[in-house]
């Protein structure tokens, strides 16, 4: 039997379920049009870019501490990279640049330890105008993967020319087993010269405007964060994650809007809100950018579609003659520090409709079904059906909710609360025009 730890106050699922339900419903039911903590809610779903100016974008970042909410009701103390002067956020801002841009990142360090930023996948990075270098102590022992900003007020400026298009991590290279785990990481997107709606410089990497999604996967050992908050040492040999997150949130927070007001420091939602693929009206797929900043492989499994893995770590899967070597998969086993770019789409292969092409089975009496909270009461896209007496649903307009989750299933828990963690949904709206609220 497990030992209940004193810090672990809320562990029994039905206690937590009430909290979760309230949080989730607040998110879905009131998300539209509400004011938000950090940025106007111009983009409820999908990847939120932080951009610079012209071909020489500059990002002014500072390190900061803050707290995030976890699905079991706990909070975690975090460190983070933030835009200077803005409230704490986790994960760091998604930096979007164009291939060939000369990118400058100014880092101001407010933490009591030296910190740095690594840009894995970018070549010829400079620090303060000279080539960025690993740091060593006087005995020749490595102390940092790259140049640092001194503790408590130090600064460092990194610069590089954005290389191959794709998805990248930026993260601390200093005491990384502490600093990365504490939250010093973010995503870097390099857009190709082919255009902003392409993942790579290939015509077949095109995706639908508004259907670009971040899937940033991470993990938390609450004792490490507690130790950091108390300024005490943490024995990394006891490291044992208890929370797993997607874009810095656990389900059900993961499907709340970007910048949801009740998640003031976790701005990035993970709901993949799309319309069904159609050869004439919706011919391009969506793009999911998967990133693993954890310590082991995460097997993400999207239901209902085999995503097409078109690139890894900023390299398209192509042969020497440009042959398309993309792979379709239903489980994306993403290694630590890997990034995977996946095109995906969904359509009803059978084109079921209530009127002309009903499902070829008798739908059971409502009393003989257990209805899910996202179910419309009808098998058909764009249709709502009868719910059992007294039942309610979060479904708005007969849209479909199709799950995507980590299939190392013990990781879709939050220190014992089941069915939380790295779970999100693909929300498929009926084709336009539809009755869905704006």
């Amino acid at each position: 039997m497990t030992t209940e730890k004193p810090m672990h106050r809320i562990s029994r699922k039905r206690v937590a379920a009430g909290v979760l339900g309230a949080v989730l419903l607040a998110g879905l039911a009131t998300g539209a049009g509400r004011s938000v903590a950090q940025t106007p809610p111009t983009q409820r779903n999908g990847l939120v870019c932080t951009t610079g100016t012209g071909t020489t974008p500059t990002f002014n970042l500072e390190t900061k501490t803050g707290y995030i909410n976890l699905p079991d009701g706990n909070t975690a103390f975090m460190w983070g990279y933030n835009e200077v002067g803005k409230p704490f956020q986790h994960p760091g801002p998604v930096l979007c640049v164009n291939q060939g841009d000369t990118v400058t990142v100014n880092l101001h360090n407010n933490l009591a330890a030296p910190v740095s930023i690594m840009f894995p996948g970018q070549d010829s990075v400079t620090a303060n105008g000279a080539p960025a270098q690993p740091q060593f102590d006087s005995a020749g022992k490595a102390t940092s993967l790259t140049n640092t900003a001194n503790a408590s007020g130090g600064n460092v400026t990194y610069s590089f020319v954005a290389g191959n298009p794709g998805t990248y991590i930026y993260e601390s290279g200093t005491d990384a087993q502490t600093q990365v785990r504490m939250g010093l990481f973010g995503a870097l997107i390099v857009r190709p010269t082919q255009g902003a709606l392409f993942a790579y410089n290939r015509p077949d990497s095109q995706f639908t405007s508004g259907e670009e999604f971040l899937v940033l996967l991470s993990e938390i050992d609450p004792y490490q964060h507690q130790a950091a908050e108390a300024g005490q040492p943490f024995d990394i040999t006891t490291y044992h994650p208890r929370y797993w997150l997607i874009n810095g949130r656990g389900f059900p927070d993961s499907v709340a809007d970007n910048f949801a007001s009740f998640l003031p420091s976790q701005p990035y939602g993970a709901l993949a809100h799309i319309h069904p693929w159609d050869p004439t009206t919706h011919p391009q797929p969506g793009l999911a950018r998967y990133i693993n900043v954890g310590t082991e492989d995460y097997p993400m499994h999207p239901h209902g579609n085999n995503g097409s893995l078109i690139g890894r770590d900023g390299k398209p899967l192509e042969g020497p003659g440009g042959q398309d070597l993309s792979m379709e998969k239903f489980s994306f086993n993403i290694g630590p520090s890997q990034t995977w770019d996946v095109l995906f789409k969904w359509y009803d292969a059978e084109h079921y409709t209530a009127a002309g092409n009903p499902v070829p089975v008798t739908v059971p009496n409502v009393a003989n079904q257990v209805f899910g909270m996202f179910y419309s009461g009808s098998p058909y896209l764009g249709t709502t059906g009868t719910l059992p007496p007294g039942a309610s649903t979060l479904n708005q307009c007969g849209e479909f909710y199709i799950i995507a989750h980590n299939h190392a299933l013990y990781q879709i828990t939050s220190w014992g609360v089941n069915m939380t963690g790295p779970i999100t949904y693909m929300r498929v709206d009926p084709p336009l025009p539809n009755n869905c609220p704006a």
Partner: protein, 461 residues
């Protein structure tokens, strides 16, 4: 699990609903939950007679019952107090949730299968629909929920999620939040029109962490339209024999906890036993459960699953000489003749990455996640694109991944009746039952005969 005690009548879904009502009223939001009253209107309950198992609709291909039960894992190493479970009736050790193939049983036999789950869930297979057919035939699987005998306090629903099936509507996906699930004594029929050959898996998706780990998991594959003896619509994937290799795991504490009305701390997860087709070595090489058919009967078998003899109560019969395996019917022993091509269909529904390794024989990976190893040409997968298949001795596979690998049996050396090769999980913690010395867990044998075996009729036979 969903507790059905008087103090705890609300399951999580109901709590979501009530919380939703409160949030909606508080905010007055237009997007709030819809009220569907009147609430006092009586609804007919079709499952009024709890003793009757629903009769499936005509024309279904398979009927599966979800329930609990017991399986047998080695008594050593003992993991006190979790393993062997002191509640386990002889000859079993471990409490499970699972599926049971009740297609060919009588109503009475079906009702007697409560608490008689098998692991892994019944292997089944489907043929890819003819893409040119005007009215492609659907494959239909009904499931019913037989309830949990060991946990009458629970009222868990069940579903069937076909893991990897493309472009399915939520209604047939079995993910309970976005659609519906099946309460005790009810029935639901899932409909599939398979268009993509390859190896898949299926499982109950209710309380996913628990129901998957407890054993409601199995393997399903789709044969290509062009040829039953090809893995894909590609003659280079031809084979002479095929074996499903389904990987699952048992964390003894979690199984004990469900039997003893406890909850495990899932973030402490670790597999104590790692199973191939529901058994640990050397049970993996024990025979299949008896089919009850002679050679002519096997040759004429045309259903979507393996034939299984049952007794008067509808219970599976134990494999010859292995009475403890009567709930674990599927063998992993690979028998083949020298020079034959053998297809191994791997699917991993454990929570850990496995690394299935063959000593002395190379495997060629021809498919992965029900996708042939071919590049795309003009947006089409199976149009003669670049061959991305590869040879290897080791197949790392994460949770929820499938691999199709073909090997050519090497020449027979002798002098025994057959040569033996081992197929094992190179993550050694998972092929040793965590016991000192020797093999266990996800290990099986490949036996190469000098041409003395008759042709294979059904998978894993």
């Amino acid at each position: 699990m969903n507790a059905n005690t008087s103090k705890n009548r609300f399951d999580r879904r109901q709590l979501f609903r009530y919380a939703g009502g409160g949030a909606a009223l508080a905010s007055g939001a237009a997007l709030a939950a819809r009220w569907r009253g009147p609430t006092l209107e009586p609804f007919a309950v079709e499952r009024a007679d709890a003793a009757v198992i629903p009769t499936p609709p005509a024309g279904i291909d398979m009927y599966i019952g979800g329930t609990d039960g017991w399986i047998s894992l080695p008594a050593t190493p003992a993991i006190a107090p979790f393993h062997p479970d002191p509640l386990a009736p002889s000859p079993y050790s471990t409490y499970i949730f699972g599926f049971r193939n009740i297609t060919d049983l009588t109503d009475t036999q079906r009702s007697l299968q409560k608490n008689h789950a098998q692991h892994n869930a019944p292997l089944f297979w489907v043929k890819e629909v003819d893409p040119a057919a005007a009215n492609p035939r659907d494959f239909k699987v009904s499931i019913t929920n037989l309830g949990l005998a060991q946990r009458p306090d629970l009222f868990d629903a069940h579903t069937l999620h076909w893991h990897g099936f493309r472009n399915v509507i939520p209604f047939f996906d079995g993910e309970p939040t976005g659609s519906v699930s099946v309460p005790a004594q009810s029935i639901f029929t899932y409909v599939y029109r398979p268009r993509d050959p390859g190896t898949y898996m299926y499982h109950c998706h209710v309380e996913d962490v628990e129901h998957v780990h407890m054993g409601m998991t199995g393997l399903v594959f789709v044969r290509p339209f062009q040829n039953d003896r090809w893995a894909y619509n590609d003659s280079t994937t031809a084979f002479d024999r095929e074996y499903a290799m389904f990987l699952s795991e048992v964390w003894a504490e979690a199984h004990w906890a469900d039997a003893h009305i406890q909850l495990p701390q899932w973030s402490d997860y670790h597999p104590d036993f790692s199973l191939l087709n529901g058994r640990v070595y050397p049970d993996t090489i024990a025979p299949n459960a008896p089919t009850g058919l002679d050679a002519a009967g096997l040759a004429a078998w045309n259903k979507a699953y393996l034939p299984a003899a049952v007794d008067a109560n509808g219970d599976l019969l134990a494999p010859a000489g292995n009475p403890h395996l009567n709930r674990q019917p599927l063998s992993s022993l690979v028998n083949c003749n020298a020079g034959e091509k053998v297809l191994l269909r791997f699917a991993n529904l454990g929570f850990k990455e496995a690394s299935m390794t063959m000593a002395g024989i190379k495997m060629r990976v021809v498919g992965r996640d029900a996708t042939p190893m071919r590049g795309m040409v003009g947006g089409v997968r199976n149009a003669g694109g670049a061959d991305t298949s590869y040879e290897t001795n080791t197949l790392p596979m994460g949770a929820g991944e499938s691999y199709d690998a073909i090997f050519t049996a090497p020449a027979y050396v002798g002098p025994g009746a057959y040569d033996t090769y081992l197929l094992y999980n190179r993550n050694y913690k998972q092929d040793a039952n965590l016991a000192p010395g020797g093999f266990g867990g996800q290990t099986t044998e490949v036996r190469v005969f000098p041409g003395t075996l008759p042709a294979q009729v059904l998978p894993n036979q």
